[in-house]
Amino acid sequence: VKHRKAVLAVPLIIAVLLAVGCDGYKDSMNGSAKVATAVEQGIAAVRDLHTNGKITQAERNEWLLYFADVTTVNTDFRTRVRAIKAQGATGNLAYLDVANAALASLTSVEGKHVLKVGSSASQAKLDLTMHLIHSVMNTLALALQKGGN
């Protein structure tokens, strides 16, 4: 019975490992696409909150400027990722520095803007978007670090 399990388990493990193998370039682009999606959702949330009178125009505009800066960071991130790929880099570590730099830029951008709104419910909703953006890049950096090479 033990041999039978081994016969079944070993190739299965190999197949799974091959299927989910790390790819620094692809993971980076996937993370960037997720950041862009989070920004897209954030813009929609800001629009809805403003339309429904939950946040002021000044508050809306500050969040929009924050999202604009995040978009710039995200675009720059992909430019650097493509440059690394063009240099023929393989593995994950080549992309880790770029992901960490993008993470630092996002932290800087968060501190640059006054992202406070009067409504606590609206604040919670908007903060969630900001945390999502940050955690996507943080998760990418951790994955690249864990993937090694």
Binding site: R4, A19, N30, V39, R82
Partner: protein, 60 residues
Amino acid sequence: MSTLSDIDAGLLILDRVISLLKSLMGQHGLDGDALGVIADSKDLANAAAIKKMLAEPPGA
């Protein structure tokens, strides 16, 4: 000890698992370039939406 039928059964299951993984990868398996293009277009659309909203007059 494993018999030939055990191994055949194992290979059959493995084949099915790989098919399932391929199916899943096909669904979510865009390559890096394609994901980059998606991110490019989303960033552009986001930047345009932000610019448009910031240009709206107060009270709009």
